[in-house]
Symmetry: C2
Subunit: 385 residues, 2 copies
């Protein structure tokens, strides 16, 4: 690997400059002209550009579009393809180019993220509604990647634990929010896509949420961690998958909660434990809360519900009544009007209504998106503890 | 965002399946035929494949090749482009496709990583030499992303702290290795590209290294963290850059070390502090160790040296003599034969020899690569404490 040296005078020494950044820049330079992409205008319209004199077809798919939808870019004389999209609501998005059909991240954009197994380029459209998940100049909580033994599952597993500003140097004990991701995600999703740590930093700094720990587990019971993705690790067999199916909730309540309460300074009672999750994690939340009534005093179900149309509704009602009796301070439900889980969401609402379970329901625009889940977390966290 | 539902029977509920993974698979399906890439053969030759009936030219650059070198793929009748490379030494590599000149990650490979501002697809070639940085079934240490105030720099900054297995539940105090990245990197580099946590996990499990903390800072003094990359944060101006230049070593010794020794269970003396770094971080290591003699008892310089050809060698020798007098247990230097920093490395060696400074020098094949830096860490860590 040949690396160009940039000279930085520094005391008696010269140091190697931004070699790796330069590498990317060198590639861009070889592909001159320099392009800017993404290019967010003052009115929040966005222009995307990519240089390829020889491509036959270039298109883009963004998280603000339908999943299969593709918008073509048009080629200018200088070999730069571009397209401008209408002003987007202030939010965080991601997108991919398709270069002659091959999905690619934007080579000019140094900001990418992983959504499941797919890497995409990051687009931040600033403005109202996105402040709550920006990295602002507030005190920041730490994120720890914590390995723990899961006796229920028989494997070592990894979770992320957010500790609020001041935790390391203090002696106070805190309440805990257990926050669950959706299918396709892992223990990394709520911080990378959900920006849960930044949301908590900002809400705590503004006095809108109480300082709390946020514990983000891996909801795929057969996986040790997102590090499963490292080639060389065996993929789970169907047998393995079946073996672990349905055991996540048990591991959460019987392995994770005790581990946190032993190893972190937290308040270990129902009134200081909250549980919330999105999509599959909302299902985990429903199941764990009714299976272990009296464990969690605050419950949040985001874009989820009762997925099983043939569920024994009478049995479910009995379970919800037992949960209600255990003393839940807040049962909060959020769902987008266009979300494909709306029917499941309605089944959950009907049980809550039938059991006269005090709850709060929030319905907004949009569908099954991280934009909504970030919003739901910023609404739910201030209601806690 | 439309998401396909996969039904998983689970107690009384059905849950949403691996939606996001399915999305990627759906894209692949739309691009059928299914291709396997990268495809590592038993002899460690590797075949790369990408499907694009309409591309005019597809090539690949891998970290085992020269930086500007590109290897063309050839197109088969079914629209799949492929190339097979000769058996590669067992290691971890990364690579990019170029689709009609546009740099892309391999859309079939779910494993990518960030090298500076460039995302690349991950290739693991298994076998001897790579065991030390695999995720094995050993106890694992945790990584904490820790924010701290840096009075020397006047900003909040983020570092990664590896705590060894047993740290959370125990009461023991540990020694600390401060481990510095190179130019273009940040506080994330030593764990993502360097796999320092896995190297320590494995060495500790085998009894080859003592349990220790590893503190990985951000060596770009003007940056708060790798999160600078979030769009919307202002890029540093030249003035800002100049203002922070040369201050990293001060912040390391005067801000980071005290923070760690206050907030973590560590042994706070020279004999239990080690300092090592690669490339620019090797320069930081040299400067910090001679500027603050008596602070670090173990020093490792990887692929680095005295970059300033016009440095005042007499003054430097005096500083190295003072460092020697402070009591250094180990001064270890590693460099690849083909490394472009070899001349700087030789200047360091000549000072060590001239000052009769007891040291160990390791020279191996290869150049300025993470393959070498992972090797150097696996050799250096066992010599500590």
């Amino acid at each position: 690997m040949k690396i160009k040296i940039q000279i930085l005078a520094l005391a008696t020494f010269l140091f190697i400059g931004s070699t790796i950044s330069l590498q990317a820049q060198e590639i861009s330079a070889m592909q001159a002209p320099q392009v800017v992409s993404p290019d967010v205008s003052a009115d929040n319209s966005v222009t995307f550009r990519v240089f390829s004199p020889s491509a036959n077809e270039v298109s883009i798919n963004g998280s603000w579009m339908g999943f299969r939808e593709k918008l073509p870019l048009t080629k200018e004389e200088n070999g730069v393809w571009s397209v401008t999209v209408d002003p987007l609501p202030s939010s965080m998005y991601h997108y991919n180019f398709f270069i002659d059909g091959v999905m690619a991240i934007d080579p000019t954009n140094p900001h990418a993220l992983r959504d499941g197994t797919r890497y995409a380029s990051l687009l931040m459209v600033p403005g109202e509604g996105s402040e709550v998940f920006q990295l602002n100049d507030t005190p920041h909580g730490n994120i720890s990647q914590v390995w723990y033994d899961s006796p229920s599952l028989g494997i070592k597993r990894r979770m992320y634990v957010y500790t609020p500003p001041g935790y390391d140097s203090g002696s106070e004990s805190y309440p805990v929010l257990y926050l669950l991701h959706g299918a396709g995600g892992d223990e990394d999703a709520w911080t990378s896509l959900g920006r849960a740590n930044l949301i908590l930093d900002n809400l705590i700094a503004e006095g809108k949420a109480k300082p709390m720990l946020v514990v983000m587990t891996n909801g795929n019971a057969w996986q040790t961690s997102t590090l499963r993705n490292i080639p060389g690790l065996p993929a789970p067999s169907r047998e393995t998958f079946a073996q672990f199916q349905g055991k996540f909730e048990k591991s959460l309540v019987e392995d994770v909660v005790p581990y946190i309460e032993k190893n972190f300074r937290v308040i270990a009672d129902k009134d200081h434990r909250a549980l919330a999750g999105l999509s599959m994690g909302g299902g985990h939340t429903i199941t764990a809360s009714i299976t272990y009534p009296g464990t969690f005093g605050y419950i949040g179900v985001f874009s989820s519900g009762i997925f099983n149309q043939n569920a024994d509704m009478e049995e479910l009602e009995q379970q919800f009544l037992a949960l209600k009796k255990s003393g839940v301070h807040k049962y909060w439900v959020g769902c987008g009007k266009e979300d494909f889980v709306m029917e499941s969401n309605k089944r959950l609402l009907s049980i809550l209504e039938k059991t006269d379970f005090e709850h709060e329901y929030f319905e907004n625009e949009g569908g099954h998106t991280w934009a909504n889940w970030r919003t739901y977390l910023s609404m739910f966290a201030p209601m806690l503890f």
